[in-house]
C-alpha cells in the first residue's frame, strides 16, 4: 500500500487498494512515471493517421466511380484531410506529453470523438457508394 505523497497526484481508490493487478501498488511506488506507455500511444496515433492517409490516397487515385467524375477525388480528399487531422492530433498529443512534467497527460473525449465520427462518416459514404454505385 502506497502512502499518499503530498503534491503528487494520487492513484488508486481512497482506501489505498488498487484494483488493477495485485502488485500495482508496489509497481506504482517503484515506477512513478508512465514510462514508455505515452510513446507507444503516440506511435498508435501515428499509425492511425497513416492508415487514413493511405485510405484517402487509395480512394482518390485508385477508385473510378461512375457516379460523377469528381466524386472519388472529393471523397479521397476528405479522407486525406481526416488523415492529416488524425496525424496532427497525435503529434499534438505527443508534444503535450513531452513538456516537462506532463508525461501523464492522457487524451480526452473531445480528442477521440472527431476521429471516431470522421471514420464513421467515411464508412457511411462508402456504404452508400458501394450500395448504389458498384464499380
Amino acid at each position: 500500500m502506497s502512502a499518499h505523497v503530498p503534491g503528487r497526484r494520487r492513484y488508486g481508490p481512497p482506501d489505498g487498494s488498487f484494483p488493477y493487478g495485485p502488485n500495482a501498488d508496489r509497481f506504482l511506488e517503484e515506477s512513478p512515471t508512465p514510462g514508455l506507455a505515452g510513446e507507444r500511444t503516440d506511435l498508435a496515433w501515428n499509425r492511425s493517421g497513416l492508415a487514413l492517409l493511405a485510405c484517402g490516397i487509395a480512394v482518390a487515385k485508385g477508385l473510378k466511380f461512375p457516379v460523377t467524375e469528381p466524386a472519388h477525388a472529393v471523397i479521397g480528399v476528405i479522407i486525406l484531410v481526416l488523415g492529416v487531422f488524425t496525424w496532427s492530433m497525435g503529434h499534438w498529443e505527443a508534444r503535450k506529453r513531452r513538456r516537462n512534467g506532463h508525461d501523464r497527460e492522457v487524451a480526452g473525449f473531445s480528442d477521440l470523438a472527431p476521429v471516431a465520427y470522421g471514420t464513421a462518416a467515411v464508412g457511411v459514404a462508402a456504404f452508400v457508394l458501394a450500395l448504389f454505385f458498384p464499380g
Binding site: R9, R10, Y11, G12, P13, P14, P19, Y20, A24, L28, P34, G35, A37, G38, R40, T41, A44, W45, R47, S48, A51, L52, C55, A58, V59, G62, L63, K64, F65, H102, D103, R104, E105, V106, A107, G108, F109, S110, D111, L112, A113, V115, A116, Y117, T119, A120, V122, G123, V124, A126, F127, L129, A130, L131, P134, G135
Partner: protein, 127 residues
C-alpha cells in the same frame, strides 16, 4: 492544479479517483487500434465493390463488401463508447465492462469469408 484538470467522460463523482495514466494510455491505444480495424474493413469493402471484377451472381460483390463497410462504421462508433465506458469504470474502480464488439466482428468477418469462399467456388464451376 488547474493544468492537471482532465477532461472526464462523465462529471467527476466525489469518490472518483485518477487511474494510473498507463491504463488510460492502454485504453486510448485500444481505441486507436479499433479505428484502424474499422478503416481496414471500410477500405476492404470499398475495394471489393469498386475494384473486383463482378461475379456471375448479380450483387455478389456487394454481398461481401457491404457487411464489411457496415461493420467498420459500427466499430468506429461503438469503440468510442467502449473507450468512454472503460475510462469511467477505471475512474470508479469498477471492473472493466465487457464489450461484444470483438465477438461480433469475428462473426461478421467469418460469415463474409464463408460467403466469399462459396462465391469463388461457384464461380469456378461456371467457367
Amino acid at each position: 492544479m488547474a493544468d492537471e484538470q482532465q477532461e472526464h467522460p462523465e462529471p467527476v463523482e466525489p469518490d472518483d479517483y485518477e487511474p494510473d495514466p498507463r491504463f488510460s494510455f492502454a485504453n486510448e491505444r485500444t481505441f486507436l487500434a479499433w479505428m484502424r480495424t474499422a478503416l481496414g474493413l471500410i477500405t476492404a469493402g470499398l475495394a471489393i465493390t469498386q475494384l473486383l471484377p463482378p461475379f456471375d451472381m448479380p450483387g455478389g460483390r456487394r454481398l461481401i463488401g457491404l457487411p464489411l463497410i457496415a461493420m467498420g462504421t459500427v466499430i468506429a462508433v461503438v469503440s468510442l463508447r467502449n473507450w468512454t465506458a472503460n475510462e469511467r469504470a477505471m475512474r470508479r474502480g469498477l471492473p472493466l465492462p465487457r464489450s461484444p464488439l470483438a465477438r461480433i466482428t469475428a462473426v461478421v468477418v467469418t460469415i463474409v469469408a464463408v460467403i466469399g469462399v462459396i462465391l469463388v467456388i461457384v464461380e469456378g464451376r461456371g467457367s
